[in-house]
Symmetry: C2
Subunit: 307 residues, 2 copies
């Protein structure tokens, strides 16, 4: 594939940045990738594994002369980084990010974007529970969605160019308004994560069931919650603090539904339960049909025969 940006600068070198690095290289989409991370330790690791072509000692250095700058730090850290790099951005460059929340990132970053720089927020819907510069792999974004959230007055050519990069990385690209993005993600990601964290926390605190029992017998369902409850605490703290309204809104709905089911159990209302469980089944089918999961038993964990 052809080079899309001569020089790409990644600020923050964790799971997402390191995966972008591998994926951009796999497709030959940049002539040079420059990286910067806050800690000397992460910078040293990045150099040791030759993650980028160059790792700089300051963020300002990394973004100087870059045609694309991508902020790959937790949502709560975006503002300070933007303030630091703003004055050093090259005219005509594109500034993007990968934060899991969009309205708060726009509010935090936009004030520091100089005229002549294209600010195009983005969010790749892909991740694992691992973090840091060693966690990345080129295939992370393959067949996943990346949502671009252009702000008012975004240059269509700059948006199209960034979309080309994400497609080159393997993703399907969609565009969305920031508030709608935050609501969709509250439903599909943020609230499910909070609930998974809660369920795991409950199990952890129960003293009548020993820890080792919870762990031994986790394959009966609990296990599926623990993966998403193992994601980076800082990232998720920032997500909930910065997508507060939408998350609280969906949580309210969740609690309402849960109470209705709880009541059905208490009253022995089997019909209500059966009808509810029947309805949710069809959603699963649609997800498999949409190619967003496999139909293999056990998520393909064991090499089980396909049914």
């Amino acid at each position: 594939m052809a080079v899309i940006y001569d020089r790409v600068a990644l600020i923050g070198l964790g799971l997402i940045a390191s995966s972008m690095c591998h994926a951009i290289r796999r497709a030959g989409l940049a002539r040079e990738i420059v990286g910067y991370a806050r800690s000397a330790e992460t910078r040293a690791t990045a150099r040791e594994i030759a993650l980028c072509d160059r790792v700089t000692e300051t963020a300002a250095e990394a973004v100087a002369e870059a045609d694309l700058v991508v902020l790959c730090v937790p949502v709560g850290a975006m503002e300070a980084i933007a303030a630091e790099i703003g004055p050093h951005l090259k005219p005509g460059a594109t500034l993007s990010d990968v934060g899991s929340v969009k309205r708060a990132v726009i509010d935090a970053v936009a004030p520091f974007v100089p005229a002549g720089v294209h600010f195009i927020p983005a969010h790749p819907l892909a991740g694992t529970e691992h973090s840091g510069p060693r966690a990345g792999f080129a295939e992370l974004f393959d067949n996943r969605f990346c949502i671009l959230v252009p702000v008012a007055g975004s240059d269509p050519a700059a948006v199209a160019r960034l979309a080309d990069l994400w497609r080159g990385i393997g993703s399907n690209v969609d565009e969305m308004d920031a508030d709608h993005h935050d609501l969709v993600l509250a439903v599909t990601s943020h609230t499910p994560h909070l609930i998974a964290y809660t369920m795991v926390g409950v199990a952890d605190e129960l003293r009548r069931v020993t820890d080792s029992e919870v762990i031994k017998y986790s394959a009966a369902g609990f296990r599926d919650f623990t993966r998403i409850a193992a994601s980076d605490p800082t990232m998720w703290r920032d997500v909930f603090l910065h997508n507060k309204d939408a998350t609280l809104d969906i949580l309210g709905r969740f609690t309402e539904e849960l109470f209705a089911l709880q009541r059905a159990i208490r009253l022995g209302d089997g019909d209500h339960l059966h009808a509810y469980f029947t309805r949710t089944r069809s959603i699963r089918r649609s997800i498999i049909e949409a190619g967003q999961d496999t139909d293999e038993p056990n998520f393909g964990r064991s090499k089980a025969k396909k049914t």
Copy 2:
């Protein structure tokens, strides 16, 4: 491996029974497997795919002369089946089941067990979201746990023999008291399932986010809930109706914790969130170390490089 039971009768021919069939054959643990299912349709399918050696038209016929009878029907259907087959059980035979709840099954079945028959309830902790006679596969129980719940006065030799069968099928065998089983499962399976059903139900009912958006962007977390929320509605209705107290108890704890996190979000208490998310992370690590899951990104869904 050597034959453990000359004739095994499976009552109900769904996911669990058909998997037992394949697994017992794989290891050569029975000389003959006889099966019975309620509907003519399931019996016809079982014959068509030659699931068992013989499919009978009545449950009584299936259990006559059987050395091991296993009830593989939903928990709420156990009592009627037990009443029907009780008089036809062979002296010295073992009667077992695979129900996901144990106290209620014991209360329902025990009254119909004639003297001289060994009643040994069991619960294999393995499943997929698929059901019916075509859903089974021999590897389902490999490296999973099967919990035996011997009742007062169970014959140790009969218990050891059933344990041998489950080990021969690939499982690790544990013993537990019925009430403790129901509590452990309420934590590791029943409550997580109810919560997953609720989350999927919420997404389904939201009209501000379209269905297609929920499905398209499900890989961000929601997807992991849909698999367990796609399990058989009848099976799960029966589980909740019959493990009511333990489930309501754990649900109460869950709601309490959820409210505390919700409050932390509302108040912007990042420290509380961060500490909570850090604690839950370690549980995940223990599950991987216990061999109850893999550490692969995306559950090994994509052929991603191992990190």
